[in-house]
Amino acid sequence: MFRWAKGYAYTGKRLFEKTVTIQYPQQKPKIPEGWRGRHYFYPDRCTACDACARVCPTEVITVVSHRDPETKKKILDDYTIEFERCILCGYCEEACPVDAIKMGDVYELASYAREQEFMTQEKMLPPGYSTDVVVHGQGEAYRGGDYRTKPEKKVNH
């Protein structure tokens, strides 16, 4: 008969609980360590080993590099991420042997145009880095997916 009173009582009990939501634009969420937000890229650390591009599931990382004719070492020329298609999986961060690409804490990812979603080195610079470390050169581009078995090989079974 007085079932409804039980419902009201429950609502009343929980009415003054601590909230779990926050007043977003005024209050910023606390980002836990290891959270996967937009990348930070450290051009000075990168050895152009292509590991991140190889492991990326959506094949959005392009590493441009050339080989130094004397030392035979690879030198980074450019590094871009087509961020529109990035799924923030964090594989690139895990693959990188020198921590040159890190998942950051940027979560406000909306933009007005698709072009703005294209991440150049400048846009991915970590806080406190000056643009001096950014490199722009002509080299051979490498992008994930290139290493995969060719389709002809795969079909015949």
Partner: protein, 366 residues
């Protein structure tokens, strides 16, 4: 003799609040009675199975997150478990325990969404808010350990991505105590309510033979008295070490499915608490090869997802990506029975039945 009127066909969805996602049902009604329902699916089809053929085994993990987005941890595990079975990998106990903790947490979160939205369909607004409040706490916990709120990608072939800290485990433990109290509150608020009970009792009744014929699983099967749960019937991971029960009911109606899911949450809490108590020390990542190239062959691995029997079938050709990768989505099979259950019921009951199936369209369409 019921009065017959002219039949009317209308479309429920694709974006109707009670269709949970993008699901369309062509409903033919005669007055208040449903004559025929024609489900139209595929709005969320992304071709994951085909994409997977072009990805290496670890690269498939983020794609599984996006299928049944309410239980991404379990999807991760299903794929990872299949690859591990194919490789014959040994997983450290510590990693397996952490996996069980996060999977059961995810199961509770998924059931909470179901609980909230199901009652929302029935016209109750406030349970939804309570459910999402509790779910938010779980999602925050999972976010902290995995790095993302829904698309966890937390499992790795051979272990998990990161270790759980003591502090995190303590907070999970505390929240589980709170959750038990909250579920009692839910029962107070909704389960005992006469109006609610009269809306769900004896609605959408079917028997065990029907459920088996349609290949139903999860709560949709257990409401008919069958106690099939992959965790017990075909144990995987370390579930045999845990002490928990499979709730079943025999009435086969929406009410039974409701009660089973509520009880399942309590059982999941039990499992999480046991896992935290008995968590052994050890590495969180086993010895997995760097390039994962399973031997030629095929494997089927299935687990109990919040919605039923979820399976992953992999055909390997010995290369680093699968030759064929197939997913058995329980919600797809459960949804297939929807027209058969709803024949001749009221429109309002149809919504209750659809809600009780607990569909997640990301999983249905893949």
């Amino acid at each position: 003799m019921a009065l017959r009127t002219e039949e009317l066909t209308f479309s429920l969805g694709p974006q109707h609040p009670s269709t949970h996602g993008v699901f369309r049902a062509m409903v033919t009604i005669d007055g208040e009675r449903v004559v025929h329902v024609d489900p139209v699916i595929g709005y969320l089809h992304r071709g994951t199975e085909k994409i997977a053929e072009w990805k290496t085994y670890p690269q498939i993990i983020p794609y599984t997150d996006r299928m049944d987005y309410l239980s991404a941890m379990l999807n991760n595990y299903c794929h990872v478990g299949a690859v591990e079975k194919l490789l014959g990998l040994e997983i450290p106990e510590h990693a397996e325990y952490i996996r069980i903790i996060v999977m059961e947490l995810n199961r509770i979160a998924s059931h909470l969404v179901w609980w909230g939205t199901f009652l929302l369909d029935l016209g109750a607004m406030s349970p939804f808010l309570y459910a999402f409040k509790d779910r938010q706490v779980i999602l925050d916990l999972l976010e902290e350990i995995s790095g993302a709120r829904l698309t966890y990608s937390y499992m790795r072939i051979g272990g998990v991505k990161r270790d759980a800290t003591q502090e995190w485990l303590r907070r999970v433990d505390d929240f589980m105590d709170e959750m038990v109290k909250n579920i009692q509150g839910y029962n107070n608020l909704v389960t005992g309510n006469e109006i609610f009970q009269s809306r769900v009792k004896n609605v959408g009744v079917y028997d065990e033979a029907f459920a088996k014929r349609w290949g139903l699983s999860g709560a949709c099967l257990r409401c008919t008295g069958n106690s099939y749960d992959v965790r017990k019937s075909d144990p995987y991971s370390l579930y045999p070490k845990f002490d928990f029960e499979i709730p079943t009911r025999t009435s086969g109606d929406v009410w039974a499915r409701y009660i089973i899911r509520i009880e399942e949450m309590l059982q999941s809490i039990r499992i999480v608490k046991q896992a935290i108590r008995n968590l052994p020390d050890g590495p969180f990542m086993g010895k997995a090869p760097r390039n994962i190239r399973p031997p030629k062959g095929e494997v089927y691995f299935h687990i109990e997802s919040p919605r039923g029997d979820m399976g992953c079938y992999i055909v390997s050709d010995g290369s680093d990506h699968p030759y064929r990768w197939h997913w058995r989505a329980p919600e797809f099979a459960n949804l297939a029975a929807f027209p058969a259950i709803t024949e001749g019921v009221n429109i309002a009951d149809m919504i209750a039945i659809l809600g009780a199936i607990d569909i997640v369209l990301g999983g249905v369409d893949r």
